[in-house]
Symmetry: C2
């Protein structure tokens, strides 16, 4: 059975640079010859023939937005008492900041529920289908076999999430279990490109509240790396990923995660976030995958 | 063994709307009471206690950027002869456009190579480790058991990618195989947040060229949905995903994909792109995962 890895260092070491914009690169080249070589590389791309006479779209003029280091409002300087900090001397200030600086990582495993009955006339409407039950059991077995000890399992209060969570919990050693209606399904944000199915409701505020409640760096009080399982919904997971990675929230519909899939976020003590997998369905046998 | 699904319709049907910005939502509420209810939902989020006296960061003031429907320069109107189009009557124009409108989907499966020897003094420097060979075989078996018929397998010309591709090909029925040095590893774009390991080189242009060569909607000449396998590298995969989803390219380091992982992109005939999985490692047995 497959497993998740505890290896979690971001592999930054192999990075040696690069900027794909010819005009911004030109100043970085050591010689004119390098610039010409780079241009010939660009020309090897198979572009549409008729595009030659048309302007090429200027997709990414420059890095669009800086990483917001205080995205979760938990940078150490926001965690001290501001009045006390203002009155402190430089050494005391440094101590105050060090005291509230997180040291642990949070691993957040987001699980989408299994397939469920969507036909209003079905007697088990909104409950898991037999396939959905099987999918939930498969992901539970995968998580159990990974050997990970989950500090907490949190589930949405919708039937399909509760049923999925219970089937997962059957496979895991006992742990803390919570339910939260903030995690229920909804439409989190006006999607771009627009979808004709989208109607404005206030559910986006509630899903943003769920994001702020669950997705943030560890407290300075947390002494060990943690593993938490959140059993919820496709839109919630996709929105969480966009927000956590500081990708535009309107892009959530550009991702699609399968039933009982695993999405793994790591939040580092300094607030950096990394997604290790999105919509991993490798635990599902052939023919048991659904979206 | 696990499988990929041929199900590929984007599940737009369950979307009923939502906008999380209170100020933009206010005008959408049917009554003042709804606005108050929404505010109380926001308050249930556990915010840092000391943040009350500090301004909350304004992370997403509005949808940041529109989806660029012509991101790959292959919208039908860019595929016709512009002079002939200019001179045609309205009916002929419509026929010209219909003729070049794609009808098939492209499924692109990006595989990261297996673990390899990174120690310059090792006799097998840059070749797959025994674990890396095992990882490659596992992903090959998963792809074979999925029953998918790959139209083409393309590999980067770096040793670790070639070795991985060959081990995968051992498991698959015969198909068209190509090698391309455009797919070699490199640093695609200045990352944000910045990495101290990053140095500017011209590799970004080459990786952007690879993106433009391989990631685009199907030609109107393509009559069936296609499945292509690209065996390449972590940075290349992460950059491709950012660019294909129109997420900021500087965000590629916020993702991390494991050795021999599967990343599945679907490009629809109208140019919309969906990622179905990122860094799926479900085919790796317990203890065989590495990054």
């Amino acid at each position: 059975m497959p497993s998740l890895s505890r290896l979690s260092a971001v592999t930054l070491s192999a990075i040696v640079g690069g900027a794909y914009y010819l005009r911004s690169e030109k100043s970085l080249f050591s010689s004119e010859k390098d610039a010409v070589r780079s241009m010939s590389l660009l020309n090897t791309a198979e572009c549409a023939v008729s595009s030659i006479s048309l302007p090429f779209p200027d997709i990414h003029p420059s890095p669009r937005t800086k990483w917001d280091g205080n995205w979760d409002n938990r940078e150490p300087k926001y965690m001290v008492d501001p009045i006390e900090y203002e009155e402190a001397d430089p050494i005391r200030r440094q101590n105050m900041l060090e005291e509230v600086t997180p040291t642990s990582k949070r691993n957040i495993i987001l699980i989408r529920h299994g397939q469920y009955f969507m036909d209003r006339n079905h007697k088990n409407y909104l409950s898991l289908t037999p396939l959905g039950q099987e999918q939930a059991k498969c992901v539970g077995q995968r998580l159990a076999n990974s050997g990970l000890k989950f500090d907490k399992v949190i589930m949405s209060t919708m039937t399909r999430a509760e049923e999925t969570a219970k089937l997962i919990l059957n496979e895991l050693p006992p742990t803390t279990v919570e339910s939260d209606s903030l995690l229920e399904e909804g439409a989190p944000y006006p999607p771009e490109p627009p979808s004709k199915h989208w109607r404005p409701t206030q559910k986006g505020s509630r899903i943003e509240a769920a994001f702020r409640k669950y997705i943030h760096r560890a407290s300075w009080k947390q002494k060990n790396d943690s593993w938490e399982l959140i059993v919820c919904h496709g839109n919630v997971i996709r929105y969480f990923v966009c927000r956590a990675l500081q990708f535009p929230p309107e892009g959530w519909l550009r991702m699609s995660v399968g039933h009982s899939s695993i999405t793994w976020l790591i939040i580092y003590p300094d607030g950096f976030v990394s997604v290790r997998s999105l919509g991993d369905i490798g635990h599902l046998p052939n023919g048991k995958v659904s979206f």
